[in-house]
Symmetry: C2
Subunit: 562 residues, 2 copies
C-alpha cells in the first residue's frame, strides 16, 4: 500500500495532528468521566458511566465490504475511515466501528489494519501493536480455560472428559505454524495426560467471537458458560459452566469488554474493538462497539472482513440476528488492481494498464454486488483509487457499474484523505442510500437444517453447485441435531481469495462444489463453524517476515512498521 507515495503510512500517521482523546470524546457526545485513559490518545469507555442522549434515534449502519481481495487487501479499512471522514465533512454526525488488528499477521506480512495514507485511525502504531490489551485478555481467558480443563482431567476427571474428543484449543496471537498440530502432556504421570492438541490464532478463538457478540458483561458470562469445549467418554457435550469457571473468564475480560475510543487523521471518533478473522470466524468488531456508536451518532460506518462472501454474509446472518445492527447501506470496495488479478493478471503486472483483464475480472465484482442485493440492499461500489490506475480503466469501470444499474464512485481517500475531498462523491451516494427504504432480510431462516443452511450459502452466495461433507462432518451433523444445536446459524470458514474453497480459482467460477471437512459447534458464540477446503485456523509466517524490518528509533517511535 505504500508504493505510490513518498511517505509510508507510519510517516503520515506520525506527521498528523492528533487531538487529546478527551476532545474526541466531547465531539462524539461522550461524557469525559466515562473515559478510562490509556495514554493521551486512547481511552476505554465505561458503559456503566456513559450518559446517553435521551430520545435520540439509533444511528444507521453503513457496512463496508469488498470484492475478493488481493493478498495486500483492497483498502477496505482505508475506505471505511475515508468515507466516515467525508460524511463528517458533509455535516453528518458520524462514528466509525472497526475491529482491532491481530499482532500475528502484522509481524508476518499484512499491512496494518488501521487504514492507509490519509485515511487512518490514530495512534496507528499503538493500535497495531498491543493497543489496550484486549487481545491479550482474550488469549489469557482462552488459555486459562484450557489449563483448567487439562488440570481437571489430571486431577481425577470427575466430569469424565474424553481427552480424544476435545474441540477447544489453546490460542496465541502469533502466526506460528509449528503449533498447529502438537502433542501435550508428555513426560510421565506428573506432567499431565498426553493428548493431541494444537494452537489457533487468537482471532479464531471462540472467546473472541463471544466477546464480539456479547451485549454486556452478564451476556458475556452466560455465553462463556455455554461454550462446549469437548465431549465426555459417553459423548455428551461438556461446557464451561459444567466446569464452573465462567466467572473467572468473565473477570479476565471485564476491562477488555469496554470499547476503545480513538480518532481518524481528520478527527472523526472511532470505536476500535474486538476482531475475529472473517475467513475463520464471524469477522467484525464487537456488538458493544457498534451499538454504542449507534447510540451516539446518526451514521455508523463499520467494516466486515475480507470479501462480501465472507464478512458481509456473516454480518447479515449472524451479527444482525443477535442485535439490531442491520445495515441501511452496503459499500462494496473494488480496485482496478483486484479486478485485474481476478481477470488472471499475475501479481507483478497489476500496475500495467489492462482494460481487457478488468473486463474479465469484473465478473467477480458482479457476483459480490448481486449477493448484497440478495439481502435486500442495493450496494454502492467504492472504487478505491491507486496511483497506477489510468483514467481509461476507471471510466470503463464506472460505465460498467452504470450499465449494471449500480451506484458507484471513485474514492481517493488514501491519497487525499476523507478529510479532504477524496471521498465527497462516495459520501454523498452513501448518505442517499442510507435514507432509502430498507428491505433487509437474512439469507436463510434458522429453521433450516445446518446442512441446508450451508447449502444455501454455498449456492446463493458462492455460486457453487452444491456441498460435500467429509465423513467426520457427516457424523457431526448427526451430533448437532441430537444435541439440539440445529437452530444455530452457520459461520463459514473459507479462503478469502476465491468464491470456491480453492484460493487459486479466481473470477466468478461455476460448476464447483464446496468441501466441508469439519464442523465445530461454537455454542457460546451461537453458531456452527464449517471448515472448508484447506482453510487454516493458524497462519504461518512468510520467508521474509515483516518483523525483520521493525525496530524502535532513537526518538522512541517505531520504525519499519508498514
Amino acid at each position: 500500500m505504500s508504493e505510490n507515495k513518498g511517505l509510508s503510512d507510519l510517516e503520515i500517521a506520525h506527521n498528523a495532528t492528533i487531538l487529546p482523546i478527551e476532545e474526541i470524546a466531547v465531539r462524539a457526545g461522550i461524557n469525559v468521566d466515562a473515559l478510562e485513559l490509556y495514554g493521551p490518545y486512547k481511552a476505554k469507555i465505561n458503559p456503566a458511566k456513559l450518559v446517553l442522549p435521551e430520545g435520540k434515534a439509533h444511528g444507521k449502519v453503513v457496512l463496508v465490504s469488498a470484492m475478493s481481495p488481493t493478498p495486500a487487501g483492497e483498502g477496505k479499512s482505508t475506505t471505511t475511515v475515508g468515507l466516515a471522514d467525508s460524511l463528517a465533512r458533509a455535516g453528518h454526525k458520524v462514528m466509525i466501528a472497526l475491529r482491532e488488528p491481530s499482532l500475528g499477521p502484522i509481524l508476518g506480512m499484512k499491512g496494518g489494519a488501521t487504514g492507509g495514507g490519509y485515511s487512518q485511525v490514530l495512534p496507528m502504531d499503538d493500535i497495531n501493536l498491543h493497543f489496550t490489551g484486549d487481545f491479550h485478555a482474550v488469549t489469557s481467558a482462552n488459555n486459562a480455560l484450557m489449563a483448567l480443563v487439562d488440570n481437571h482431567i489430571f486431577q481425577g476427571n470427575h466430569l469424565g472428559i474424553d481427552p480424544r474428543r476435545m474441540t477447544f484449543k489453546r490460542v496465541i496471537d502469533m502466526n506460528d505454524r509449528s503449533l498447529r498440530e502438537i502433542i501435550i502432556g508428555l513426560g510421565g504421570p506428573a506432567q499431565g495426560v498426553p493428548r493431541q492438541d494444537g494452537f489457533d490464532i487468537t482471532v479464531a478463538s471462540e472467546i473472541m467471537a463471544v466477546f464480539c457478540l456479547a451485549a454486556d458483561l452478564d451476556d458475556l458470562r452466560t455465553r462463556l458458560g455455554r461454550i462446549t469445549f469437548g465431549y465426555t467418554f459417553d459423548r455428551q457435550p461438556v461446557t464451561v459452566a459444567d466446569l464452573g469457571v465462567e466467572g473467572a473468564l468473565t473477570l479476565l475480560l471485564k476491562d477488555a469488554i469496554k470499547p476503545n475510543l480513538v480518532q481518524t487523521i481528520a478527527g472523526t471518533p472511532a470505536l476500535v474493538h474486538g476482531g475475529p478473522f472473517a475467513n475463520i470466524a464471524h469477522g467484525c468488531n464487537s456488538i458493544i462497539a457498534t451499538r454504542t456508536a449507534q447510540e451516539l451518532a446518526d451514521i455508523v460506518v463499520t467494516e466486515a472482513g475480507f470479501g462480501a462472501d465472507l464478512g458481509a454474509e456473516k454480518y447479515m446472518d449472524i451479527k444482525s440476528r443477535i442485535a439490531d445492527v442491520a445495515p441501511s447501506a452496503v459499500v462494496v470496495v473494488a480496485t482496478i488492481r483486484a479486478l485485474k488479478m481476478q481477470g488472471g493478471v499475475p501479481k507483478d503486472k497489476l500496475s500495467e494498464p489492462n482494460v481487457d483483464a478488468i473486463a474479465a475480472g469484473v465478473e467477480n465484482l458482479k457476483r459480490h454486488v448481486g449477493n448484497v442485493a440478495k439481502f435486500g440492499i442495493s450496494p454502492v461500489v467504492a472504487i478505491n483509487k491507486f496511483a497506477s490506475d489510468t483514467d481509461e480503466e476507471l471510466q470503463w469501470l464506472l460505465k460498467w457499474c452504470a450499465a449494471e444499474g449500480v451506484e458507484a464512485a471513485v474514492a481517493d481517500v488514501w491519497g487525499r484523505g476523507g478529510g479532504g475531498d477524496g471521498g465527497d462523491e462516495l459520501a454523498s451516494k452513501v448518505a442517499a442510500a442510507v435514507q432509502g427504504p430498507s428491505n433487509f432480510h437474512h439469507l436463510y431462516p434458522l429453521e433450516l437444517s445446518v446442512e441446508d443452511k450451508i447449502r444455501t450459502i454455498v449456492q446463493e452466495i458462492y455460486g457453487a453447485d452444491g456441498v460435500e461433507f467429509s465423513v467426520p462432518a457427516q457424523k457431526r451433523l448427526v451430533d448437532i441435531q441430537k444435541n439440539g444445536w440445529g437452530g444455530l446459524p452457520v459461520c463459514m470458514a473459507k479462503t478469502q481469495y476465491s468464491f470456491t474453497d480453492d484460493a487459486s480459482k479466481l473470477g466468478a467460477p461455476k460448476g464447483f462444489r464446496v468441501h466441508v471437512r469439519e464442523l465445530i459447534p461454537k455454542t457460546g458464540a451461537g453458531f456452527i463453524v464449517a471448515l472448508t477446503g484447506a482453510v487454516m485456523t493458524m497462519p504461518g509466517l512468510p520467508k521474509e517476515p515483516a518483523a525483520m524490518r521493525m525496530d524502535v528509533g532513537p526518538d522512541g517511535n517505531p520504525t519499519g512498521l508498514f
Copy 2:
C-alpha cells in the same frame, strides 16, 4: 492471609481511599507530563520526559527478604509496603519498588502479590490481573522470537539451527503443566519441522530477565540481541542478533519497559515493574524501576522473592553487579507460623501456641540472618505479626534475636497498616540501619569458574557439603567455558521451601549435596541458570484452583479474588 480479620484483602482494598495518580506523582516529585495514564489510578512513567531533581543524592536501598517461606508466604510484600508507609509517616521521602504479580499463580493458589491487610498497593485487583500489560508484552516478544526461529528452520534453515539443541522455549502466563513437555511441528511438511519442546511460565522467560536487567531501551535491544536460543548442527551458539529480530522484540517491549506508578493504601508512591520468579529466575523488579525510585526518593524499599537464599543472594550477586543498587539495609521477614513449620509442625496446627517448635525452627532464620551478614550487611529481622501469635511466642523470638545480636521488631502492618503505627518500631530500626556504614560485597568474584561459583553458593548460603552435576550439566560446563561465558554470574533455580534442593527438608539441614541437573546459559540476561533438584519452570494448578471462586460482581468489581 485472610483468616484473622473480618474483611478480605480485596474488601479492604475496595474500602480504601485511592487518590488520582497525578497526586501521587506530585508527591513523588514526578512531573505530571511524564505520566502515561492507564485509567485514573495507574500510570506509566516515560523516562524520556521525566525531569529529575538536580544534585539529589541517589536514594538508599532497603532490601526486604525472608526466612524460608510457608506455601502461603510470610508477608514479605506486606512488610515492604508497611515499612515504606511507616518510613513515610516518620517523615522520610520514600518510594517502593516492587515486582509485578504473575497471573498463573493467581488463578492457581497463591494470594495476591500486592501485600495484604492494611499494607497493600492499589488498585490491587488491576495489578493482580492484566495491570498495564507488561507481562503480555513479554509473552508476545518471547513467542514472536520462537515463531520466527521455527519459521527460519521451516523456510530453509540458512543458519543451520539444530532443532534438537534448542534452549529457548515458548512461554505463557499460566500454570499449565500439560505444556511442560510437548512435541510441535506435527502434521507433515506444510506444518513445520517436528521437535521436542515445552512452555515455561512467562516469569521464567529470559526476556523477562532481560527486561528487568536492562538500563534503558538501547541496553534492552543489545541484551535481546545477545540471547542464545539454541545451537547449530556444528554446535555453535545462535543468537537473536544472528536471526536479526532484536529490533522487532524491542518494538514489542517499548511501552512495557516504562515503569508503572501506583500507590499504597496510605498514599506512598510505588513503582511496580517487571517480575521474574525468584526460584527459577533472578526474582526482583526492574532495574529501571529501582533506579528511577532512587533518583526520586531518599529511601527505596524493594523486595527480593522467596527466602534470602534465593532472591536476596541473586539481588546481591546479579542485580547489584549490573547497576548501582546495592542495599544499605536488609530486612529478613520472619513469622511465628513459618518458624513453627520449620520446627516440624504440620500446616493445620500452625495456629496453636508452640514455643518449642519455634525454638527448633529458629535455626532456619539463623542461617538466613547469617547469610545476609556474609554480604557485609547486618540485617534487621521483621517479625510479621499474625493474630494467632501469642505474646509469649513473640517475646521468645525477640529475646532470641537480642541474644544473637540481631536487630528485630514486631510489625503489625497487616492489621494496623504502615500508615498507622503498626510499623513504627521497624521503620525506626531500618532508618538507623540505612544510615550505618556499608561493607557490602558480592559473595563470589566473577573470575571463579561457573562450577566454583555454584559450589560457593551452595556451601556458603545453603549450607551444603558440595554439589553434584548431572552428566548433561557436566557437558554444558565444558561448552560454557568454550563459548566464553565462564565469567557470568550464576542464577540458582531451587525450591523456595528448603535450603536443600528437596522441598521436604526443613530447618537448617546439614550433610547434604545439591544436585544440578541442567545448566542454561542466559547470555542476554547475562547469567547461567542452574536448575537443581526437581524445580520446575512451569507450575501446575492445584485440585481446587482459586479461579473457581472468581467472578465479577453486579458493580463491575471482582469477587473471590483473595
